[in-house]
């Protein structure tokens, strides 16, 4: 991938900013108020407003929902540097995400790497435009951290696989159009060598889902059941029984994503110390509670160190290099930091941080309570913190099994 010189990059920045200013509706430049404002697209897309729909259409048409994908697959063909500039401009204008999409974040990068030309052309452009919504069928009741022990079966019958089994914790399975799914195609092979990566249309006969409720009160994920579901063989990605490599590559992207994610509580911008000042007050300019003050300073420094490390890794990687074992470090540390931050917010708020509903509590307080409960999942989903530690120990430090 060719690196642009500084000048070209600044030209790109100016052009991008002009385009965003002309195309991002004013209402889409205000902070999202809640998860209801998120746009996930799909065949049955729900838009919170007309502006949100227009914003997605324009971003999708421009390729900016999947900026680094090649144009022929619905992307904008940007270099990593240009994508960073786009991201910075989106932030500086305060633009909302036009699209949230597992398809763009996770599936796309591995389809680009492992998919056939026909698969790329069939799935990537509509995914980038937000017309297909995806879910991730990895975990099963008996295969969580030990993902490779999964048992959902796929047996070839003519030109289709017949899938039987169950997935669990499948985020948005009830709303998704398609699933990228790990299935066992060779039960006799060692567990990592009998897995394939299948794309399954959720409208196929024999697919059903059931929502699961979380401690935060939301029901974002489901159990998914497969009962004799016929899946065209052309929808298998990579080699038959070679799905584990695809699955792992996808997990790297998922981890990179989760480590960048911060659950919104008090919007993106309000710092811990500013929340603390409102709730705790100050004495001689210092927060009135010296113990919380110390912990806030610690958390704030640690998150500074984390951002600097992300920056250093990005600078080191230059453009184009796929994420490696270091994403485990960012997944681990980013999610632990986010949990600490939300714990601190709830502690700062006192009882106001543990309300469920009612006029006693502000919308921000209720949002932070939900975000706090949601954040406990950060260090479980996408491979738990313990699994990340295992990966660092083995792949980075070379410690024995």
């Amino acid at each position: 991938m060719e690196l642009l010189s500084g000048d070209d990059l600044e030209g790109f920045r100016a052009a991008t900013r002009a385009w965003l200013e002309a195309n991002c509706p004013a209402a889409m430049r205000t902070p999202a108020r809640s998860a209801d404002d998120d746009v996930w697209g799909g065949r049955a897309a729900v838009f919170p407003s007309d502006d949100a729909r227009v914003w997605l259409e324009r971003m999708g048409a421009r390729g900016f929902t999947a900026p680094t994908w090649p144009r022929e697959y619905g992307g904008a063909g940007l270099t990593a540097e240009q994508a960073r500039v786009l991201d910075e401009e989106l932030r500086s204008l305060g633009c909302r995400a036009a699209l949230k999409s597992f398809g763009v974040w996770m599936l796309g990068p591995v389809l680009l790497q492992y998919g056939t030309e026909a698969q790329k052309l069939a799935f990537l452009p509509p995914t980038a435009r937000g017309e297909l919504r995806w879910c991730q069928g990895y975990s099963e009741p008996a295969a969580g951290s030990d993902l490779a022990s999964l048992q959902t079966r796929a047996v070839l019958d003519g030109d289709a696989y017949v899938v039987d089994g169950q997935k669990v914790w499948t985020s948005h399975a009830d709303k998704a159009d398609w699933m990228f799914c790990l299935v066992r195609t060779d039960p006799a092979a060692p567990k990592h060598e009998g897995i394939s990566f299948l794309l399954i249309d959720m409208r196929s006969p024999g697919v059903s889902t059931r929502p699961i409720r979380l401690i935060s009160g939301a029901s974002p994920f489901c159990e998914a059941f497969f009962d004799g579901v016929r899946v065209p063989a052309a929808q298998l990605v990579g080699r038959v029984n070679g799905g584990w490599a695809v699955a792992k590559a996808l997990l790297e992207h998922e981890r990179a994503l989760i480590s960048r994610m911060r659950d919104a509580a008090f919007g993106e911008d309000e710092s811990l110390e500013s929340i603390a000042k409102r709730y705790l007050g100050t004495v001689d300019g210092a927060l009135a509670d010296p113990v919380l003050r110390d912990r806030i300073a610690q958390a704030s420094m640690d998150s500074l160190c984390n951002s600097l490390t992300l920056r250093r890794s990005a600078e080191g990687a230059r453009s184009g290099r796929p994420p490696g074992a270091e994403t485990s470090m960012f997944k681990l540390y980013g999610t632990e930091l986010n949990k600490r931050r939300l714990e601190l917010i709830v502690e700062i708020e006192g009882f106001r941080g543990v309300g469920v509903e009612g006029s006693e509590f502000s919308a921000d307080e209720l949002a932070s309570t939900r975000a706090w409960l949601r954040s406990r999942a950060n260090s479980i989903e996408g491979g738990s913190s313990e699994i990340q530690l295992n990966i660092i120990a083995r792949r980075v430090l070379g410690l024995p099994e």
Binding site: E273, A276, K277, T282, G285, A286, L287, R293, D294, I296, A297, Q298, S300, M301, D302, L304, C305, N306, L308, T309, R311, R312, E315, G316, M329, L332, Y333, E386, Q388, L389, N390, I392, A393, V396, L397, G398, L399, P400, E401
Partner: protein, 379 residues
């Protein structure tokens, strides 16, 4: 500025590593310790390092320096940290030399800095008075007398104070202890009447001293800048010093960590390598993350010094806090994961542990830095 080293910086690392590993491995520190060396560092090695440009690295060519920056000096300090190589870099180059460079007149710079750059003069900053670092707590008094000041007071744990050719002394011209205003900086050459310096040996076997000033008279031409305006210079050199010590601690933490990981791959118990025990693996992986975070903040802080950025003070606090926590944790875990041999003097790990604790306290420990960080951020 990028957080990735340039080719020139990589070659400085190579040069420093080669020198330190060859001339100042941990056996060098042991020899100084076991010989009860009065200075706690080797003037011969220091002179060789100066010959490689280390002493003059951050000073301009006009005073005999090399005109590079803290990013480069930080690399050398990190390498020194790896072998616990004792050098007067922090005391002479960063603290006292930095104060003269920032606050001194041309004549003062010309008198002291060429000798510093040549590795011929060792200087020390005599600032702290209590048992722990406190930025503006200065009770030592400087009273005006005809043609100068008369200084009376006591300084504790002065880095490389023993054997220094001159001290830069912080003394109060006005105000009460802990006031930022009213602190002056005074150059006091060794042997000045009324000055006594006694070594206070610490567990890291380096040089720290108690300094008594008993009516020491300092002529006007040895005052650094305005006699009551020293805090501006003091603040900057203390930030620089905190970052320099952080760079050294990063090296120490890395070395202790790498030695420990290597041990996990060689020591067997229960018929397997102890590195296969998950209780140890996970802690090793956590240490890895902390060392990486430490590296990022140290690099950013060093660069902020070179860019003269407004956030240098904040990054100094964050860097010192982070590397302090990391080095203490890593050195402590290093002992634990080595088992019994970890607490023997024969193994170097204990030397790292002792240095970690002294370096932690030097120029403010982690709790001190968190307080400062919060204050700088307005809470």
């Amino acid at each position: 500025m990028s957080l990735v080293l340039t080719e020139d910086q990589e070659s400085i690392r190579k040069m420093a590593r080669e020198f330190v590993q060859r001339r100042m491995p941990t056996t060098h520190l042991r020899a100084l310790r076991d010989g009860a060396d009065a200075l706690g560092y080797s003037p011969a090695c220091w002179s060789e390092l100066a010959g490689l440009g280390v002493a003059g690295m951050t000073f301009p060519e006009a005073v005999g320096g090399v005109g590079l920056g803290f990013a480069e000096l930080g690399i050398v300090l990190e390498e020194c940290g790896r072998t616990l190589a004792p050098t007067p870099i922090v005391s002479t180059v960063v603290l006292a030399g930095g104060a003269i460079s920032l606050g001194g007149t041309d004549a003062q710079r010309a008198r002291w800095l060429p000798g510093v750059c040549a590795g011929e003069r060792v200087l020390a900053l005599a600032h702290d008075e209590g048992t722990r670092h406190a930025r503006h707590r200065v009770a030592t008094r400087a009273e005006p007398v005809a043609g100068g000041f008369r200084i009376t007071g006591e300084k504790s744990f002065v880095l490389d104070g023993h054997g220094a050719d001159a001290l830069v002394v912080a003394a109060r011209v006005a105000g009460a202890s802990a006031d930022r205003a009213g602190i002056g900086l005074f150059i006091v050459p060794a042997g000045s009447p009324g000055l006594t310096v006694a070594r206070t040996p610490l567990v890291d076997s380096r040089n720290a001293a108690r300094v008594r000033l008993d009516g020491v008279v300092v002529p006007d031409d040895q005052v650094l800048g305005a006699p009551d305006g020293g805090a501006a210079v003091l603040d900057r050199v203390l930030d620089r010093g905190a970052i320099a010590v952080s760079a050294e601690m990063l090296g120490g933490a890395l070395e202790a960590f790498e030695r420990t990981v290597a041990y996990l791959k060689t020591r067997r118990q229960f018929g397997v390598l102890i590195g296969s025990f998950q209780a140890l693996k996970h802690r090793a992986a956590q240490m890895f993350c902390e060392v990486e975070l430490s590296r990022s903040i140290v690099l950013a802080a060093l660069r902020a010094l070179d860019d003269d950025g407004p956030d240098a003070a904040l990054l100094a606090a964050a860097a010192k806090a982070r590397t302090t926590d990391t080095f203490l944790r890593v050195a402590g875990e290093a002992i634990q994961m080595h088992g019994g041999i970890g607490v023997t003097d024969e193994l170097d790990i204990g030397l790292f542990y002792k240095r970690a604790r002294v370096a932690a306290m030097t120029l403010g420990d982690a709790a001190y830095q968190r307080d400062r960080y919060a204050r700088l951020q307005g809470y």
